[in-house]
C-alpha cells in the first residue's frame, strides 16, 4: 500500500487537542444545545410545579462522592427548583457520605435565595438502619432524626414543629446511587404512606426503576447526567449537567467526524495506490 500524504497517519496529538477543546469549551461557555425532555423528567417537573408555595418537601440524599458527577447536579437542580417555588426543604440521608454532599449544594443556594436554616430548610443528616429508618420515619420523623446535621435538637428547629410524618411532606425527591435507595423508598414508603415520590439515579441504575414509573409509584425519574440535564433545561438554568451533556455531544460528534475523515483519507490513498 502506498504511503502518500497522510491524513491516515495524522499526528494523534492533533486529535487529543481537539478532544480537549471539545470538552473544555462547553464547560466554560455552555452551548445550550436544544434538548428533548423525556416524559418521566417532564412529569417530575410538573408535579413539583403544582405543589403550593410554602409546602414542605423532602430531599433524600443516598449517594457518595464516587457518583457525584452524575447525581450532584440533580441535588443542585432540585434544591434550586424548591427554593425558587418557595417550598421548604427537609433533607434526610440513609448514606453516611451524603449529608456533606447535600450541604455543599444547599448552603450556596440558600444564600442565593435568602433562605434561613431551620425555618426554610433543615439538613437532618444521616441515620443508620436503612429500611428500619424509613419505617421509623413513617411513624415519626422527629423521633427518627432527633437532631439535625449540626447537632441542634429537632424540638428547637421551627420548621420541624410542622413535620410529624409523611402526611406533612408534599413530595419526596430521592437521589439514589444504590441500596438503600429508590427501591426501598418505593417499597417501604411510597407503597405504605402514599407519599408522592420522585427519584434521580445513575444512568446504570435507571432501567431498574422504569417499571416503578410505569406503575405510577414514581411520579418521575432522572436517569444519569442526561436526566439531570433535561431537568436543568426545564428549569431554564443550565448547570453542570447541561454543560456536561453539551461536552458529550460535541465530543461524540467530533469522533464521528474523525472516523469519516479517516475513511476519506483511506479511500483517497487507496485510489492513488491503484492509479
Amino acid at each position: 500500500m502506498s504511503e502518500g500524504f497522510d491524513l491516515r497517519r495524522i499526528d494523534r496529538r492533533i486529535i487529543f487537542v481537539l478532544v480537549l477543546v471539545a470538552v473544555v469549551w462547553p464547560l466554560i461557555a455552555p452551548l445550550r444545545l436544544p434538548m428533548d425532555v423525556s416524559p418521566p423528567v417532564q412529569n417530575l417537573y410538573n408535579t413539583i410545579e403544582e405543589i403550593p408555595a410554602g409546602s414542605i418537601v423532602m430531599l433524600a440524599g443516598d449517594y457518595s462522592p464516587d457518583t457525584m458527577p452524575e447525581l450532584q447536579p440533580m441535588t443542585d437542580t432540585f434544591l434550586r427548583h424548591a427554593f425558587r417555588n418557595d417550598l421548604r426543604v427537609v433533607v434526610a440521608c440513609l448514606w453516611p457520605a451524603s449529608p456533606p454532599l447535600v450541604e455543599r449544594a444547599l448552603l450556596p443556594l440558600a444564600d442565593e435565595f435568602g433562605k434561613v436554616d431551620g425555618v426554610d430548610y433543615v439538613n437532618l443528616g444521616y441515620m443508620a438502619g436503612g429500611t428500619v429508618t424509613l419505617l421509623g420515619m413513617g411513624a415519626s420523623i422527629p423521633n427518627t432524626f432527633p437532631s439535625d446535621y449540626s447537632g441542634t435538637p429537632v424540638r428547637e428547629i421551627p420548621l420541624m414543629q410542622e413535620v410529624q410524618n409523611f402526611d406533612d411532606i408534599a413530595f419526596v425527591m430521592e437521589i439514589s446511587a444504590g441500596t438503600p435507595g429508590t427501591r426501598e423508598w418505593v417499597q417501604q414508603v411510597q407503597s405504605r404512606f402514599r407519599v408522592a415520590l420522585g427519584s434521580g439515579t445513575t444512568a446504570v441504575g435507571a432501567p431498574n426503576f422504569y417499571p416503578y414509573v410505569q406503575s405510577g409509584q414514581l411520579v418521575g425519574l432522572l436517569g444519569g447526567l442526561k436526566g439531570a440535564a433535561e431537568y436543568e433545561t426545564l428549569l431554564e438554568y443550565p448547570g453542570l449537567a447541561t454543560k456536561g451533556m453539551d461536552a458529550q455531544s460535541v465530543v461524540h460528534a467530533l469522533i464521528v467526524v474523525f472516523i469519516i475523515l479517516g475513511n476519506v483519507a483511506y479511500f483517497a490513498a487507496r485510489r492513488k495506490g491503484r492509479a
Binding site: 496529538r13 478532544v19 480537549l20 464547560l27 466554560i28 454543560k243 461536552a247 458529550q248 461524540h252
Partner: protein
Amino acid sequence: MGTLIWTTIGAILTLSVYSFLYKDNPFYKFAEHLVVGVSAGYYLVIYYYNFIDPNVVTPVFQLRLGDQPIGFGSGAWWLALIPGLLGLLLYTRFFPKVAWVARWSLGIYVGGYAGLGISPVMQARVIEQIGANALPLTSVTNVLIVIGLLGTLAYFFFSMKHRGILGVFARTGIVFLMVGFGASFGYTVMSRISLLIGRVSFLLHDWLHLV
C-alpha cells in the same frame, strides 16, 4: 489554605499525567513512579490490617489469652493458624531446598477456586442462557437473538473447518460479533468522556474557580 495546597498538588499531578499525551517526559515519569510507590505502601498496610491482622494475628494471639474470637473464622483458634501457615509457605521459594513447598499454597488456592468457579459458570452462562434463549420464534427480535447466538457459537467451533453449513453459521456469527463490538465501543465512549469531564471540571472548578 491547606485545601488550596492539596488541590494544587492534585492539579499538578493531574497535569503531569496529561503531559503524557504530548510525549513521555520527566513529569509523567515522576507521577508514574510516585503512584507505584504510594500504592505499594498502601496495599501492604491495607492487606495487613484488613486480612492478616483480624484473621490470623488477632485470633491466634488473643484466643490463647482467653478472649473472644474475632474475624470471620468461627472455629477454633488453631484454624487461624492454617491460612497463616499457607501464607508463610509462599516464602519457602527463597530457600531452594524446600522451594517446592510453596506449591501447596498455590495448589489449595488455584484448585479451590477452579472448583468453586465451575458450577456457577455452568449455571449462569450455560443453563440459564439456554432457558433465556429458548425463545418462541414468533417475533423478528426473538429470531434475531437465537440466530445471533447460534452463529456466534458456531464461530467458536474448533474441531471442524468452517465450510458448508457451519461456514454459513460462522460467518453470521462474525456479522453479529462485529455489530456487537462496534456498539459496545460506541456505548463506552460516553462513560470515558464523562471521566474526562470530571477531571477537567476538577481543574477548572475546584482549582482555578473558572467555571
